[in-house]
């Protein structure tokens, strides 16, 4: 009887596998056609040629016919005699680094307070307020600062009222400080949510043990809390750095000038001119390759924490 049961079950399991596979099939097909194939198209455009007549890019899907025209054009702009991208790369890294550091410096204390010290009722209120920007459109949040930073806006009135400035500052055209603060303002809610989730998971008993065993406040923080929050800090920073490196809109709204351009602005501009679309494809592959490492790190790290949580 047992044997017959086994014999019956085997084909049924095969049937179940087919059932699950059929369920996953539409999603798999969709991701193949509209996620995997598109990246091959970018590659094909990057390695393709230009239609001389219309000045539009032609995709070349056969790897045997790939050309390096766009690649060398990109290289000319990076390292050739008329290269203009060097400062843009440096600026991209600099702005992203400063803005992310600001996010962390502001976000960590706030997340730490809400996770560890806020009483139950206040915690819910503060969480709602921390989450609120997550539900407010990014454009609305940028627009808010565009309003405040106008020449006759409230920021300038306040500065003049406090005698910190004699005449209104033109914040919205080519001020690096505005762009960096805009980036920090834009992405900090994501960092705070990740930090909060991580810090909330730290067992308070560990911190109390540190204090009970004679460590001072600062040393408990350095020896216990900070090492335990390394993982959330890393994933939180990634969640701000990845989109900042591909950001062009914050920069456009906060400055719009070429002296604050970042790599995202270059790609965005090249995309809007058919003649340069091939080069834009090269740069977006370039950016993808650089970001592949942190992206995979992020996937592995979050997978590990979610498995530990279960």
């Amino acid at each position: 009887v047992a044997l017959r049961g086994l014999a019956q079950r085997a084909p049924q399991r095969g049937k179940h596998r087919l059932f699950w596979a059929c369920l996953a099939a539409p999603g798999i097909l969709w991701l193949t056609l509209l996620f995997i194939v598109p990246f091959y198209v970018v590659l094909a455009i990057a390695a393709g040629q230009l239609n001389q007549l219309f000045g539009t890019p032609i995709a070349e899907y056969n790897p045997l016919h790939w050309t390096t025209g766009n690649l060398s054009a990109a290289w000319r702009d990076i390292a050739g005699p008329s290269a203009y991208l060097g400062p843009i790369f440096v600026r991209t890294i600099l702005y992203t680094a400063i803005a992310s550091a600001l996010c962390l410096l502001i976000g960590y204390p706030a997340a730490y307070f809400v996770a560890r010290f806020a009483g139950p009722r206040r915690k819910v209120l503060m969480l709602v307020l921390l989450i609120a920007p997550f539900w407010i459109s990014y454009m609305m949040r940028m627009l808010a600062w565009v309003d405040l930073l106008q020449t006759n806006g409230y920021v300038n009135s306040a500065l003049q009222f406090l005698h910190l400035a004699n005449h209104p500052v033109n914040w919205l055209s080519g001020q690096p400080v505005t762009v960096v603060l805009g980036l920090a303002y834009g992405y900090i809610p994501y960092l705070i949510l990740v930090l909060y989730a991580g810090l909330d998971r730290i067992d308070p008993a560990l911190i109390e043990a540190g204090r009970d065993l004679g460590l001072g406040k600062a040393r408990t923080f350095m020896r216990v809390t900070l090492p335990l929050s390394r993982q959330p800090i890393m994933t939180g920073l990634l969640i701000t750095v990845l989109p900042m490196l591909g950001d062009y809109f914050t920069n456009q709204l906060m400055s719009g000038a070429t002296n604050t351009s970042m790599i995202g602005n270059v790609i965005d501009q090249q995309l809007s001119t058919p003649l340069f679309q091939g080069e834009g494809a090269v740069f977006s592959i370039f950016l993808l390759l650089i970001l592949m490492v942190p992206m995979i790190y992020y996937v592995v790290a979050t997978n590990r924490t979610s498995r530990e949580a279960v």
Partner: protein
């Protein structure tokens, strides 16, 4: 959760003993961190007050986005030409945002739920590699994905012209990971015992799915629908790259391109306020709906908040 209240009583007593024994005043090591609290409130003010002011300026009785000139509804409906209600471009952008949100949610949620169920139970290399692809689509910077979509719809699938269809296809791909990830997380917590019980009682795969799994997964599916809907309302990069004319430009792109073109005005603040109101309605419906659907489960406010923010998966 209650670390501060739980430790308050014994520690103050210990503190008193220490003070008496050592003979000098010591600061209570567990006292409330007022400085940190003040800092947190300052952060919240910095984060939210500008938005409040932007909402206020949408009611400005003047053309300025920076100087208050009195209250009016003119940018919403009173002005016969330039209000959101009467200007066809502004009006159409509201409709387009809603249209894209509905289309994307209706396609992405069933697709993602089926994908999650299939991938989670059908073990093998194909399943795990496509799961990896799905997670990659969750973390990839939107600009890089947007460029790929742009070239796909202009070079390979050029029969899909830039416009509503291209925007919807792009947004579905970009958002399908919400239901896929959330439902998988729920499947892991549920375990397999319900399915196995159903199978032992003679249910077929399809019956198990419909009668057992879907009801159990309903809160997760609902939460992911809320997240997809609201993230389409707020989406910018993809629709910025995939729109073709005023008829298929949603609110976020219109705000950006108009403000950047130097034609900003309180009407844009009105659009932003409408977006904000839409998101908050969705969030509220999501929160209440989620609480209602999980009313039998032990859960506090924070868990429900986390669920509809996507923070618990």
């Amino acid at each position: 959760v209650n670390a501060s209240t739980a430790t308050a009583a014994p520690s103050s007593q210990a503190d008193r003993t220490v003070r008496r024994a050592s003979g000098f005043r010591r600061r209570n090591p567990w006292r409330h961190p007022w400085f940190l609290e003040g800092f947190t409130w300052l952060y919240l003010i910095w984060s939210l007050v500008p938005i409040g002011l932007a909402v206020l300026f949408s009611f400005n009785n003047g053309k300025s986005q920076a100087v208050w000139q009195g209250f009016s509804w003119r940018w919403y409906f009173s002005d016969p030409v330039n209000s959101v209600l009467h200007d066809p471009v502004l009006h159409e952008s509201v409709v387009q945002t809603l249209r894209l949100s509905v289309y994307t949610t209706v396609i992405a949620v069933p697709l993602g739920v089926a994908f999650a169920l299939g991938i989670n139970r059908w073990r093998g290399v194909t399943a795990s590699s496509f799961n990896f692809v799905m997670i990659l689509s969750f973390v990839i910077p939107e600009l890089i994905f947007g460029v790929a979509m742009f070239f796909t719809f202009t070079a390979l699938f050029s029969f899909v012209h830039l416009g509503t269809l291209a925007e919807t296809l792009g947004l579905v791909t970009w958002n399908v990971s919400w239901p896929a990830i959330i439902v998988q997380a729920r499947l892991v917590t549920l375990g397999r015992q319900y399915e196995e019980a159903a199978a032992d009682l003679g249910a077929t795969g399809w019956q198990t799915m419909r009668r057992v799994m879907l009801p159990l997964l309903a809160p997760a599916i609902f939460a992911s629908a809320v997240l997809v809907f609201s993230s389409v309302i707020d989406d910018f990069v993809l629709v910025d790259l995939l729109n073709s004319n005023a008829a298929n430009t949603p609110m976020s792109v219109l705000i950006y391109s108009t403000q950047r073109g130097g034609n900003g005005g309180p009407a844009l603040n009105a659009l932003g306020t409408i977006m904000l109101a839409m998101s908050f309605v969705v969030a509220l419906v999501g929160y209440l709906g989620y609480r209602w659907m999980t009313r039998g489960e032990r859960m506090d406010n924070r868990q429900a908040l986390a669920a509809i923010t996507g923070a618990d998966s």
